[in-house]
């Protein structure tokens, strides 16, 4: 593998247009799930071109907490849960950073807040990416839908093309 490029990682990286192949700016939506890891690996294996600018975007989904019945009365409980989630998120972010660093590809991790779907789409717009990469599902509890709500949102609202990567069924043992 080529030695990692030492590019300054800056929010205003300009795209270099190569003569034959276009260098692309890509946003990969990741939540730490096997599905998004698969999408990431698939991108690296099948899509990545040297010179591509990669942004790994993560947006934690706290909506499930607020929708748990009985939760709204207890402020300290919510605070406790949020603290736990924050810890979990740091672990996920570390894993994502590790994954990215291992590839040797210059890129950065974008930590978003708000509703995952709309935040990711907005980030893709602001970062002016050429396309978005996402898995089909994530860490969410709803395993009925084939296309998780976040991926679904992204596909319907993204202003740029989206790669939706389904993880082959043989590899997953149980749905989270």
């Amino acid at each position: 593998m080529d030695p990692p490029k030492v590019d300054p990682i800056d929010s205003h990286v300009t795209r270099r247009k190569m003569s034959t192949e276009h260098c692309s700016k890509v946003l990969i939506a990741m939540d730490g799930s096997d599905h998004s890891n698969y999408a990431f690996d698939w991108y690296m294996d099948r899509l990545h071109r040297k010179g591509n600018n990669v942004v790994v975007a993560h947006c934690p989904d706290y909506s499930a907490i607020y929708h748990t019945p009985g939760i709204s009365g207890d402020a300290s409980l919510i605070a406790e849960i949020l603290r736990e989630e924050a810890v979990k998120m740091e672990i996920i972010i570390d894993k994502l950073r590790e994954r990215l660093t291992k590839t040797g590809v210059p890129g950065r991790i974008l930590r978003l807040t708000g509703k995952p779907g709309s935040s990711l789409v907005k980030a893709a717009e602001e970062e002016e990416v050429d396309y978005v990469v996402t898995g089909t599902r994530g860490l969410g509890k709803v395993s009925r839908a084939i296309l998780g709500s976040v991926s679904d949102y992204i596909v319907h609202h993204s202003h740029v093309p989206v790669f939706v990567c389904q993880k082959p069924k043989e590899e997953s043992h149980h749905q989270v």
Binding site: H22, S24, A39, W42, M44, D45, R46, L47, H48, D130, Y131, I146, L147, V155, H156, S158, H159, V160, P161, V162, F163, V164, C165, Q166, P168
Partner: protein, 158 residues
């Protein structure tokens, strides 16, 4: 490991500019020199089987079939030109039946590494926001799907 193994890529095309955009985008951002492109086209007269009322007039049907054949020829020419210009190898595959199903079937049959679709086409019946074909492909494809949303037109404005 990023090997340069040849892979088949299925691109769903019809005569619309949306397909062209999807094709161009794929070439620009995702194509690898060793890729073999398979353009899958489902002629529109097969769509008519879903609107039986139109099939009552044999003259109309004959007209439509003729029109469609001209379109297919034009399509094949258009994309052959494009592929020749960029020195890409590929073929056009004509399928029958429901478009979404045909594309997924083609992808499976050709052992495609991915499917490329636009979000809209030439279809006379505008069914869903996403487009029935891309929607079907997303839910039934065994491999990653590139959904090429066309550059924002009025309908995409928030």
């Amino acid at each position: 490991m990023a090997t340069e193994e040849a892979r088949n890529v299925v691109i769903a095309v019809d005569d619309s500019e949306f397909s062209e955009y999807a094709f161009d985008f794929y070439i620009q951002h995702a194509h690898r020199g060793s890729d073999h492109i398979i353009l899958v086209h489902v002629p529109e007269y097969y769509h008519l089987t879903q609107a039986p009322a139109l099939l009552t007039d044999p003259v109309v049907v004959a007209e439509l079939i003729k029109e469609e054949e001209v379109k297919v020829k034009h399509l094949v020419e258009k994309y052959s030109e494009k592929m020749k210009k960029i020195h890409v190898g590929g073929k056009v595959k004509q399928m029958t039946g429901k478009v979404g199903e045909a594309i997924v079937e083609a992808a499976k049959g050709e052992n495609a590494a991915m499917i490329v679709v636009g979000t809209r086409g030439m279809g006379k019946i505008r069914r869903t926001f996403l487009g029935s074909v891309s929607d079907y492909c997303l839910h039934h494809s065994p491999v990653p799907v590139l959904v090429c949303r066309h550059k924002p037109v009025s309908e995409h404005k928030k």
